[in-house]
């Protein structure tokens, strides 16, 4: 073959190889989830949220008050599981949430009175509990 045609062939072969190489270098995007659920001993789930998600869900807390031997809290803190058992969400660490059982004695208006449950002074989730329940049920994951 003549000199210039050899060059043409070389160029074309290089172009073909580089094209093949380019297509295979696909950058994989790693997506981080805003919430992780870990199963702990006793079957309770431990939900860890990213700081921004805690703010986005508008998670707010309310403290358990002690009134004359009985513990009281707003009724809104209670979530029901599929069997009607009552639970509340507490936060042992920032951005970490777990469900604790609670036994209701009575509900008067918007206030809940209970004797078995989180001790006085515990912070319970009053806003955003429905979403935490959704995270545990695997909604959106």
């Amino acid at each position: 073959m003549q000199y210039n045609s050899r060059w043409a062939v070389a160029v074309v072969v290089m172009a073909a190889l580089s094209l093949v190489g380019c297509s295979e270098a696909v950058v994989k995007e790693v997506k981080s989830t805003p919430a992780t659920v870990k199963k702990m001993d006793g079957g309770i789930n431990r939900i860890t949220l990213v700081e921004s998600s805690t703010k986005r869900l508008g998670i707010e807390f309310v403290e358990v008050k002690s009134q004359g031997g009985k513990l009281e809290a707003p009724y809104d803190v209670v979530v029901y599981d599929n069997f009607g058992k009552e639970w509340v969400y507490t936060s042992p660490e920032p951005n970490v949430f777990t469900r604790t059982p609670i036994k209701i004695d009575s509900v008067v208006g918007d206030t809940l009175y209970f004797s078995e449950g989180p001790p006085a002074g515990t912070k319970m989730v009053i806003s955003g509990a429905a979403e935490l329940l959704g995270i545990e049920a695997g909604v959106g994951q």
Binding site: V12, A16, L19, V20, K31, L57, A137, Q141
Partner: protein, 563 residues
């Protein structure tokens, strides 16, 4: 239709107009200086190539190989992704979530979305309206936003996606309206790929669906894999204790009716006021039915006159119940849905089918893949049949033009080179073969065939009517004389689609832009092919049957001056 119309115009109107407008104009035989310059250069180049055509053939071969290499890496999609400016986000919480909570979390999401630059409005709807067409629960919400024309589309969309991703515990996604509606027509849901598992028992359906979900979750490029929100929700169940009811002389039906009225109300009548009919219901006050304890405290009358608690007459408890039962074609079903970028649709669908083959379904249960993928298969099958049909028609047309099967086949075999230009141009551009690309490829094939006809027909004309003998001189002269028309027609077509290519993939041009890119790329390679390779091929293979070598007289046509 346009080509047909322009053909009719060219054969009737143009000659008539020429006669009318140009009859008085003196006929000056002036040749454009550019054409002269081009023809001279072309003749030099072509004569060198004709004498040693092997390099040209090898170049063509390599480019075809290059095109062949590129094609598998191009994605395949059906619909282009329309760059719409209206977004819809599903915002679905766990079934059983209250209206108050749905309002709160939708407003929270809305407030944050409005802070993204470019988002100009926000709206949401929660639950099901009185005359709504989609039966959904209170936990179902949709958020709507639109973005400005002036902002960077991809950046804003990415920002919206990032905000939406930050709300765990909700099923959420970001879609555009057109895409969601099209998908809904194709699958019955708003997703690109749907694996529908049909069967009888909800428990088994859910188990198999979750199994499939875990199996396909890690396929490359798949996202948003989820199972239909068919979950159990707590439901209050009141079961009459017959012995206790008998003791108080209360019939089980009474217990049921009384409980139903207390909890769900009972219509007692209607009032007509202000042109509207208002229903009147009897109901207990909310604080007497807002918890399981208060329900147990509801009082019924015994036949002895005393009042009995409902909790003493019946077991009142919460039991899990399915929140929704979905049915399709006489069978219960649960869907596993996912979204895929358009270019990966084919590959991901095949991968899903391969993996699901390994799942064992009990008797009476089966899985089926629906969605955009099935539509695309049907559409490409149709297109394949049409392409074969049109290639056959092109072959017949060529044969009619050249009156030689050999020449027709020759030109047909050069068409792939024209296609290669289209594929290479697509690879540089979007790298997706979509509807527009396929239309463009068919157009390019037609243009390449036309250019081939222009050249070879003229060579045949020179041979038959001007008495040139078949040989190198004939081919050179024929090609030189056809240089102007070939270049002009190619450039005219190219200029026509150039604005579409330059404008880029802007909203509104999602189908035309790939088509224009393919046509432009194909024009370049087919023009190069026709000007440099077809003459050498014609010289080598196009010798008409029965003709002798240079020097002999043609048997038909006028006697040439050269003798």
């Amino acid at each position: 239709m346009a080509i047909l119309a322009s053909m009719i115009v060219a054969m009737t109107v143009t000659p008539a107009l020429a006669l009318v407008m140009l009859s008085k104009v003196p006929l000056e035989r002036r040749v454009s200086p550019i054409a002269v310059w081009l023809q001279a250069r072309y003749e030099m180049l072509l004569s060198r190539i004709i004498d040693n055509p092997r390099n040209a053939y090898l170049t063509v071969g390599f480019f075809i190989a290059l095109g062949g290499l590129v094609v598998p890496f191009l994605g395949q999609g059906l619909f282009p992704s329309f760059k719409e400016r209206d977004f819809l986000m599903h915002w679905v919480a766990k079934p059983g979530t209250s209206h108050r909570e749905m309002l709160r979390i939708s407003i929270e999401g809305g407030k944050e979305l409005l802070t993204i630059p470019g988002v100009r409005n926000f709206g949401a709807h929660v639950g099901q309206g009185t005359l709504a067409d989609e039966p959904v629960g209170m936990n179902f919400g949709e958020n709507w936003i639109s973005i400005e024309r002036s902002v960077d589309y991809d950046k804003t969309r990415a920002a919206v996606q990032e905000v939406v991703d930050g709300y765990p515990g909700l099923y959420r996604d970001v879609q555009t309206y057109l895409k969601e509606r099209t998908k809904e027509v194709l699958t019955g849901t708003g997703h690109g790929l749907v694996l529908r598992i049909s069967g009888d028992d909800l428990g088994i359906l859910r188990k198999k669906a979750n199994e499939v979900k875990d199996l396909i979750d890690d396929i490359d490029d798949i996202h948003g894999v989820h199972v239909d929100l068919v979950l159990d929700i707590p439901q209050l169940e009141i079961k009459v204790d017959l012995a206790a009811a008998l003791h108080y002389g209360i019939k089980p039906g009474d217990v049921r009716r009384a409980a139903s009225t207390y909890i769900a109300s009972e219509e007692a009548g209607d009032i007509w006021r202000g042109g509207k009919n208002i229903e009147v219901h009897v109901w207990s006050s909310p604080e007497h039915r807002n918890s399981i304890n208060s329900v147990k405290d509801l009082l019924l009358d015994a036949n002895t006159g005393e009042r009995v608690r409902l909790g003493d007459l019946a077991t009142v408890q919460m039991r899990p119940t399915p929140n929704i039962i979905l049915r399709e074609a006489n069978s219960r079903r649960v869907d596993v849905s996912a979204d895929v970028p358009d270019s990966e649709l084919g590959r991901v669908a095949r991968e899903i089918e391969a993996r699901v083959q390994k799942v064992e379904f009990p008797i009476g249960y089966h899985a089926e893949l629906l969605g955009e993928y099935k539509e695309r298969q049907a559409a490409s099958r149709r297109l394949q049949i049409m392409s074969i049909g049109s290639l056959l028609i092109i072959l017949l047309t060529l044969q009619t033009a050249f009156r030689s099967w050999r020449l027709a086949t020759l030109v047909m075999l050069t068409l792939p080179f024209a296609l290669v230009g289209g594929f290479l141009a697509t690879a540089v551009g979007d790298a997706v073969i979509s509807l527009g690309t396929l239309v463009g490829l068919l157009t390019v094939v037609g243009i390449a065939a036309r250019n081939g006809i222009l050249l070879i027909n003229h060579c045949q004309h020179l041979e038959r009517y001007e008495g040139m003998t078949f040989g190198r001189a004939l081919v050179l002269r024929g090609a030189k004389e056809r240089l102007s028309p070939i270049l002009m027609t190619s450039m005219a077509t190219g200029m026509g689609v150039l604005p579409l290519v330059v404008a880029g993939s802007i909203p509104g041009n999602e189908i035309e832009h790939p088509m224009a890119v393919v046509i432009l790329g194909g024009l370049v390679t087919s023009t190069v092919l026709n000007l440099f390779v077809v003459p050498s091929l014609y010289l080598r293979f196009g010798r008409p049957e029965g003709a002798s070598t240079d020097g002999a007289q043609p048997t038909t046509g006028p006697i040439s001056a050269t003798g």
